[in-house]
Amino acid sequence: MSRHFQSSVEPDDRTATGVVIGRLAAEQLDELEPLWASLVQHHSALKGAVPFREPGDSWPQMRKLYLEFVDDIRGFCLVARRETRLIAYAMVKIGGPEEVWRTGDKLAELETLSVADDERGGGVGTLMMEEVERELARRGVDDLVVAVEESNGDAQRFYERRGYSHALAWLYGKPLTWRNEKEGLAGDGI
């Protein structure tokens, strides 16, 4: 599983009004770039274990990744608009089955859920998740995973309230650095 799915939702989501949710087609992908940049900035501020690339550096690769999912078979992308302005997107990958966990034949991954800075805390995240879940139910997908940064407690609580549980920790390390420092470390338990 990849670790690119991230969230910029807030814990105190309320009901959003005047927001229209629709599907994004592959040829409209470039419209997502500002929301991607906003999400990366939001995460950089959380100061997690691993530094983030500048949004301008990561966007071309994310765009390439997203292209695989927006075909409506391997995934889909939902966008929220207030009038004509794009204020959120959810990118969902449909793969699977998982080899260890007892998922169905299809496993959904919420790759990204990004909400514009000035729209956070207004219920847009909840609205998007409800729509994502409805679409997955329609497709008969019973299992969803989402990765959240360990330092992003707000996002973790948001998903916990929707019935999701911590299942796996993605650890990050620098093997070569460790080798240089390993003198003096005690033996292991494994």
Binding site: F52, Q61, W101, A147, E150, G173, G187, I190
Partner: protein
Amino acid sequence: MNDITIERLPAERLDELEPLWHAMLDQVVLEDSVVPIRPAAESWPLRRAVYVELLQRPEAFALVARRGEDLIGYAMVKIEDADAVWYTGSLQANLESLALLPDERGKGLGTRLLDAVDEELAKLRVTDLTIGVDVNNAGAKRFYERRGFKGGFLLMYGRPGGGPWTAVEREREAPYRSMWLPDGVPGADDPQG
């Protein structure tokens, strides 16, 4: 530990890993996996397909530990291009699996295998490694933390729209059966607690 050799396993000999994969699944059950796991017989063909695909990439590798002729552990390492989001080198690695036979645990074999992984990564000039660990598996987390690993992301799992997890329902209908221990996994009669 001196009678142990560590070497690369060629992709065409992947099937030799199957018993070790089954032993690892038992361990996942013992460590109280949050998500119920597949019957072992169902899991290996799926996992094997993942290994076949990742080993298409020439930099990826499988290391096996043997005592004499006997396979007692393995490490599977996936290599990918630079991460889209995180600052990594031009290549990054993921430790897909680290599996040891039950009798070989707690004797430093995991350290030996990971040291060998590090050496291979050094040859490839790969400086970034990620590892997924079950949240309840405190022993494994400590093991990696002692090697300098830090928490990056947490993977959350659930059923879209709420309701009982289908994985739990499937487990209830057909409980996990070990392929490794015919009498079942000791202490894991009720994996969902």
